[in-house]
């Protein structure tokens, strides 16, 4: 239903949506010749006041990423709202023929977080957007703009809000009418990032996957708690990427060695990798993330030395995990090799992951879905060539077969060859 009496000021360019009681029009504002969006609703419609509330909600939000409201007016029959026409492609349209690079993806995700952050920090109280989907995200270069605030609410009114939203994009608590707060938008932002990742070259990036899984956790208490926090973690990922190609080189890189099951041999592989790198004059430090390996080495190694929280023995350098009652020492600068045992989450915080499996049939193996990622290398320990080939075929990934060691005192040539091949793929090494 198109409102009467607007013709003197607006030319209707196109009708974007029309029902018996509502209309969304693209209009030309005659006075200055600018395109605008006009949303109209009949006074008798049960949601008639939504237009007023939308205008009211967007007032006082300091962001150029949301449309400007020009006026809210009424005729005898209808209320109507005139707002800025946001030009550009929607995210869905853009991704139909474009594959994002990781850099682009992170820029867009951070920009999306910024607009949601502005809503959540609105000066009259947090605004919950509730309608995040690719059709509502308009791209203008690296900046995203958000449109359609029809079902947005103030947090203070969330308790009496009707359960509205789009299936697959809205948080479960939003659709089933449970308690709502800002975290429902974090879920939707997570879904958008996931959507972008699936249409990007960073499809297998395990760090991004981990972040998405934290953002879209169906348990609201386990979800990332604020949009600022999500933005910070995205910025960290962006910085990791920048640092990787900057002059920092391999300094401060983290390599995680993690096993598919207990006794897969992660400790020995991590220690020997550390010895290998130090032998090649790259400062590498072993760290046992969960156990007391370095403490045990203190009392078992002959001719070792301790200095400022590091145990030195021939080519081995191990970071000692002192308790609270020992003076704190600055962690040394260099490559950190984290022995993560079987803690997969811990491994995801690293730049490179060495995933170790063993072939013992009585052990339950956990192969994470991020195994396909480029920076994850697969080593099969205590195994035969045939089993390596089988594993490689089933995972569609190169498998390095770790040699059976005759002595742990010296690095074997075969071990050195594996480490060297793995690190050749990483340009900073």
């Amino acid at each position: 239903m198109i409102p009467d009496g607007i013709e003197d000021r607006y030319d209707i360019v196109s009708v974007l949506r029309e029902t018996a009681a509502t209309a969304v029009l693209l209009v030309n504002y005659k006075t200055i010749g600018a395109l605008r969006i006009l949303k109209a609703i009949h006074r008798a419609h049960p949601d008639a006041f939504s237009i007023l509330s939308e205008a009211h909600l967007l007032q006082g939000i300091q962001s150029s990423q949301i449309p400007t409201i020009y006026s809210v007016e009424d005729t005898n029959e209808m209320y109507y709202l005139v707002e800025e026409f946001v030009e550009g492609q929607t995210l869905r349209e853009y991704l139909l023929d474009t594959k994002l690079t990781k850099t682009e993806l992170l820029k867009l995700a951070i920009s999306l977080c910024e607009v949601v952050e502005a809503l959540h920090n609105a000066k009259d109280g947090p605004v919950i957007y509730r309608d995040m989907k690719p059709e509502h995200i308009i791209l203008q270069g690296d900046v995203v703009r958000l449109i359609d605030f029809g079902i947005s609410i103030r947090k203070s009114e969330a308790a009496k809000a009707r359960p509205l939203g789009t299936k697959n994009w809205a948080a479960p608590e939003q659709l089933n009418g449970s308690f709502l707060d800002e975290r429902c938008d974090i879920y939707s932002v997570g879904k958008i990032i996931e959507f972008m990742q699936n249409n990007s070259y960073a499809k297998d990036d395990f760090r991004l996957k981990k972040l998405v899984s934290q953002a879209i956790n169906t348990d609201v208490n386990k979800r990332i708690d604020s949009i600022t926090n999500l933005k910070k973690q995205l910025c960290d990922l962006q910085n990791v990427k920048l640092n990787n190609i900057s002059e920092k080189g391999n300094l401060d890189k983290k390599i995680a060695v993690v096993g598919s099951s207990h006794s897969a041999g992660t400790t020995l592989i991590a220690i020997n990798m550390c010895r290998y790198l130090n032998k090649r004059k790259m400062d590498a430090y072993y760290k046992d993330v969960e156990g007391d390996t370095v403490q045990n080495l203190i009392s078992n190694l002959k001719d070792a030395k301790i200095k400022e929280g590091v145990l030195y023995h021939e080519y081995f350098k191990g970071i000692i995990d002192y308790g609270e009652a020992i003076e704190k020492y600055m962690p040394p600068k260099g490559i950190q090799i984290n022995d993560c045992g079987t803690n997969l989450d811990m491994a995801l915080e690293s730049d490179i992951v060495i995933f170790v499996t063993s072939s013992a049939p009585f052990k339950e193996k956990i192969i994470p879905d991020w195994i396909a990622s480029e920076s994850v290398y697969l080593i099969s320990n205590f195994t035969s060539k045939l089993e390596c080939i089988k594993l490689s075929k089933s995972l569609h990934k190169k498998v390095y077969m770790y040699p059976i060691l005759k002595s742990i005192k010296r690095l074997q040539k075969e071990e050195e060859r594996i480490f060297s091949t793995i690190l050749q793929n990483e340009k900073d090494f």
Binding site: N300, K305, G323, E324, A325, I326
Partner: protein, 205 residues
């Protein structure tokens, strides 16, 4: 710092008792240092027993309350503290041998001497300064077998002197035919430095 001495740390030296020849010699300070060293540097499970009628540590370590075998204890920086512990309770804990036990003995008496001697390593701290020497000699006499004492001097006992004067060491050696060492100076038992590890490890070697 070399890790040579850590190689000789024996798992059999698990119960260590501390006693002072007189008050305010730093017995509690040194007991805390060793307890924190064993836990924070070597990651050992440590129980600290304060064998005294009243606790002087409650205010410091008493924030987190726990129970070990129905006994009220406190956890602080990883070490379990049993404060104002009775001889009977201390004996129970010593018999368990599933953790390193540090016993800080406030008074050496007939009753507490049993606990002192029950430990694998006994540390005696005193001052050989001329005006304090008599206290050290009195305690040594008690250790040698005073009336009502479960005593005797053993290889498991180590003697420490506040100070580093050669003549004080010689006098002690002449009197008791055994060595006395200088007590290490450790500023803060809750912020131990790596250079403090060696003298602390020596205590239990």
């Amino acid at each position: 710092m070399s890790t040579k001495q850590f190689k000789n740390l024996k798992n059999t030296t698990k119960n260590i008792s501390f006693i002072g020849a007189s008050r305010k010699l730093g017995v509690t300070h040194m007991s805390l240092c060793l307890a924190n060293f064993l836990h924070s540097a070597l990651k050992k499970k440590v129980i600290y027993i304060e064998l005294a009628e009243e606790s002087s540590l409650l205010e410091l370590v008493g924030e987190k309350q726990i129970y070990i075998h129905d006994m009220l204890a406190f956890k602080y920086m990883g070490v379990t503290y049993v404060l104002a512990c009775s001889v009977e309770d201390a004996m129970k804990l010593l018999n368990e041998r599933d953790a390193y036990i540090i016993v800080d003995i406030q008074n050496y008496s007939g009753k507490t001497s049993e606990i002192f001697n029950r430990c694998d390593r006994q540390i005696v701290i005193g001052s050989m300064k001329p005006w304090c020497r008599v206290d050290y000699y009195n305690l040594m006499n008690k250790l040698k077998g005073g009336e009502g004492m479960h005593s005797g001097m053993h290889d498991s006992q180590k003697y420490y002197n506040i100070g580093n004067l050669k003549n004080e060491k010689t006098d002690f050696m002449k009197a008791y035919k055994c060595n006395i060492e200088s007590l290490p100076i450790i500023e803060n038992p809750f912020s131990i430095k790596e250079e403090d590890f060696e003298p602390l490890a020596k205590m239990i070697l």
